[in-house]
Symmetry: C6
Subunit: 237 residues, 6 copies
């Protein structure tokens, strides 16, 4: 039975029987600006703090910007990078061929192979892919996309042996959870971040949409983003 891995989010582990299941893949889903990247950084840093090294694949933000964002919350990523406990992987090289119009999609086997090497290099047991969509588009035809996503997630579980968070940016105004509508069924759990209303004000909320093998509370939980502490869960709404 998988042991549990702390999410690093104050108030969340208790809602999830202690945290994520080791070695499984989880989807962090939400519209732009809802806190997905902060969630993942917090997860990464909580891991590093307790000896679980992390590889962070950042596709929407340059590694140096991610470091700056973390700084704004008082988190020092550079220290952990220097200590080789955290790698923020620069994925730009893998996309060069697409940008040049020479290729239609990322050569995922190359990327996966390098990813495995990085994980091996620092013996990482946590992995973040933020977001996962750029690794998927360009695949031919709907059937291959669905199968591709299944095998991508299965192979992350089988080969990379990390407790993995993948993020999904949901375009505003839709009620979807994932871009290809298949990730949500293959992952072991889904946490959704959003913005809701309470007494006329907008508040940040998180809820646990799905968590295999774990009894969950389905309701919305209001949270704040605070310096140093990051995402802190407040009350259930």
């Amino acid at each position: 039975m998988s042991s549990r891995v702390s999410t690093g989010i104050e108030g969340l582990d208790g809602l999830m029987n202690g945290g994520f299941q080791q070695g499984k893949v989880y989807l962090i889903s939400g519209e732009a600006g809802t806190g997905k990247t902060i969630f993942c950084l917090q997860y990464a840093l909580a891991g590093v703090a307790q000896g679980e090294n992390t590889v962070y694949v950042s596709l929407d933000e340059k590694p140096r910007h991610l470091v700056e964002d973390a700084e704004s919350l008082g988190w020092d990523l550079k220290k952990y990078i220097g200590e080789k406990r955290l790698i923020i992987l620069d994925v730009t090289p893998y996309f060069t061929n697409i940008r040049a119009g020479r290729e239609k999609s990322v050569d995922v086997r190359v990327l996966a192979s390098d990813l495995a090497k990085q994980i091996e290099r620092i013996k990482a047991t946590r992995l973040v892919i933020d977001p996962i969509a750029p690794l998927i588009f360009g695949q031919e035809g709907a059937a291959q996309v669905q199968e591709y996503i299944r095998s991508l997630i299965f192979s992350i579980e089988d080969n990379l042996k990390c407790t993995t968070l993948i993020t999904s940016g949901i375009p505003s105004g839709t009620f979807r959870l994932s871009q290809y509508e298949v990730e949500e069924f293959v992952v072991s759990g889904i946490i959704v971040l959003g913005v809701s209303h309470l007494q006329g004000r907008r508040i940040r909320i998180l809820y646990i949409r799905k968590m295999r093998g774990t009894p969950i509370d389905l309701n919305d939980h209001a949270f704040e983003i605070l310096p140093q502490r990051g995402i802190v869960i407040r009350e259930t709404v």
Copy 2:
């Protein structure tokens, strides 16, 4: 006339004239995380407990993870697997060609043939296909897809002689029951799992959408997922 086969869900058989009709195919439909797989595991285990062996085809979860999920509820699948009363079929080999881009769809005749062998091997009378979509995509053109689904379901009825549950993952934010909108008309019954609101809280609900040859209560029934007992139906809402 078909005899009835217990669903294995506390409180449900009574809403369905005793259970499913033997040898028919039923659709368990619901968004991600609503309990479709737990429903199917419970159905499988109830069957095994009363001498009805089961083949479980799991497409979104690796067999070993399914075993772990069951463990979290206190169910020991390994015992039944050891006693050859339950087979959890590993379907990865059938999808290798798609992932490699060599094929557009699963070679269903091969899969069906192997499925028949597994069923024969343990004399199974219950079958679960969770979910059914991966067996369908890749078929050419809308007409063939519709006909393919019809013949797939008809041939499960005709050749495999099991009381079968197929699951359909409905993307969030839609009100559909099935992915191809034809399964829902061909199956003998549909049970929908979901999440609803009651007095400001989210609750889990189930309702019987359709059940041929059976008078049904159309209303929502709140349920809980409890250790050991799994899905337990509470009140009608």
Copy 3:
């Protein structure tokens, strides 16, 4: 002027000036599980009971399952089949080529020809096609589909000389009446079956959407499905 043909549904003839117009084609429309097949079986049996023989073309259910469903309501179809007053047509052979990928659509001329023979064989004056969609898909291009449906319905009227019910399964969550959006304009009438809410409970309802040459009550009528009597209309809601 067409004479009237009883619908066989308690409480409905009175809402429709005595029933259907002889020789015309009517659409019975509704989502999965709303009672379309029971409606058609009741219509067929009412006809047979008064000397109007019926051919029933069942596309979503195997003939033997249809017989079983009827049994669950206490109706004995086998007796009428034996007396050659009811034929349940097994359409599987017409779809073999599609399933094998050799054809794109049903060879409707062959099917129509055999249908005419069956009707002639028992001098049927009632016909049910449940559902009609499988006979339509696969036709090339939108224009041909629309024209195909028109000519299909016109030729049923002209050649088969039966009072005909065709059913249309409407995918959940849409508000459509027919799949191709043209059947609803060509048929002589439309009855819609559905599920509605009354004082917090789900109830079954039926309403008459359209009925050429007949003054109608447009409102919803609640109904029940009872043993022996089948669909029985209760009050107007």
Copy 4:
């Protein structure tokens, strides 16, 4: 300035400055079963009654069925047909090539030419095309369809010199007025028939959506369909 032509609908002329403008084209729009064909029959008969002969092109109903529908309201079309004051044009021959798959669309020039001959034959000054969609589909590409509709309507105005009603069947559940979304802008006026709710009951309503050169009341008007009188406008709702 165009003189006015009575609509034939009790209570409607007064809402439209006396009726339709002579020689113009009007759209009668509505979902299935809302009374479009009754409206057009009433218009035709009112015309014939005052010496305005009418050609009625019926595409969704066989001419003999149209005659029967009229009979159900107590209207005798056969008399006027015999007196050569009304022609119900049988359009089946124009569609033979489409049904046989030899053509993609109606040869409109042939149809228009025959139409002109029929109009000339009885010196008709009223024309009904019910519905207009079958004359449009099959045209190549969106631009040609839009232009085709424009020229079709312009040429009806220029060449046929009749006050013309064209009907548009709107698929249920949409809020459109016309199928190609261009007819509504080219015609001189639009009357919409529908079903609405008043104090919990469904009622039939009509409203004037557009009427060039005529001040109009935009509100819904409830109506009934009565024997002999046909559509009779009641109150404004």
Copy 5:
């Protein structure tokens, strides 16, 4: 700085800092029958009345019908046409090739060239294109359409030197402002005409959606269409 050009609509100039900016292009948007053509006629006539000659390109209505519609409001267009202060351009010749299927789109350079000649002929400083969509469709591919619209509007500004109104017919039931969703961003301003509800009745409303370089009141303004005066703005709702 552009000087202001009166809209010709009672009550509107004051909401727009005196009117339209000279030489700019404005979009008048609204569903069928909301008054777009009346608005444009009023604009044209107000201009002519103060010495600003106008070319009116009418695509959905024949010039002679436009004259009749104006007559119904008591406006005599023929007088101004005779005095060569107003030209209603007959565009049928430009569309002949499309109707004959020989071309996919209007040869806009020819039309623009003739338009320029007409404007020059009467030294027009006001232009109306009602509606603009027929000049756009048929262009190849989405990128060219967007660029085509941009250049069309830019070249009207650059070459034709008129204060121009273009109209956009919005299909009912959508909430769009323009057909190609790019006109609304390129024009200097947008006025929307519609129908709304006030205390259970339908009323005509107009609102200023956008007006570059001009402070505006965003609210709905109820209006009436009166003889002689045309559109008259009443109260803000």
Copy 6:
């Protein structure tokens, strides 16, 4: 860590920890007429006023019209243009090939190169691209578009070294934030301009949708557009 760059909008810097982060790219999003261009002009002028030169790429409005719009608010762009502290880049030449149908998309490398030269010429540290969509369409296939947008935004950050605003015009009636649904995830922040209702009146609102590395208030802020001061934030609503 990036230093902060004033937005130039009264009341906004305080909601964003002092303003934009230097060198990052921000999305200003909103429907037609909501104030995006005024926002950008204000940003540009605030920069110029404090020694930060600006290049303004205007795609929906001709440079001279932009100057006029600014004048209507009392802003004198010509002065700054003369002092070579502001460049309004005329992009028409880059689009000539598209309009002529010779190319499918803008040659972005040429445009980017010229942009870099202009920025270098006046040592600009602020950049506005209003709107960004015309630079994107025409790219082949969805995968390239997504990758193209990523690389476009990354290369603006890497090569142009300006604090950049890009605008996105959202078609009315949708709830989207960006046209291609990927910009919103790649930019460092998003400000949305809109129109809302307060006590029955329409009011202008702005809200901060996302701001990496900055704690934000998610609520709507009402604003006005005033002479000289431009956009001025009033109260939170």
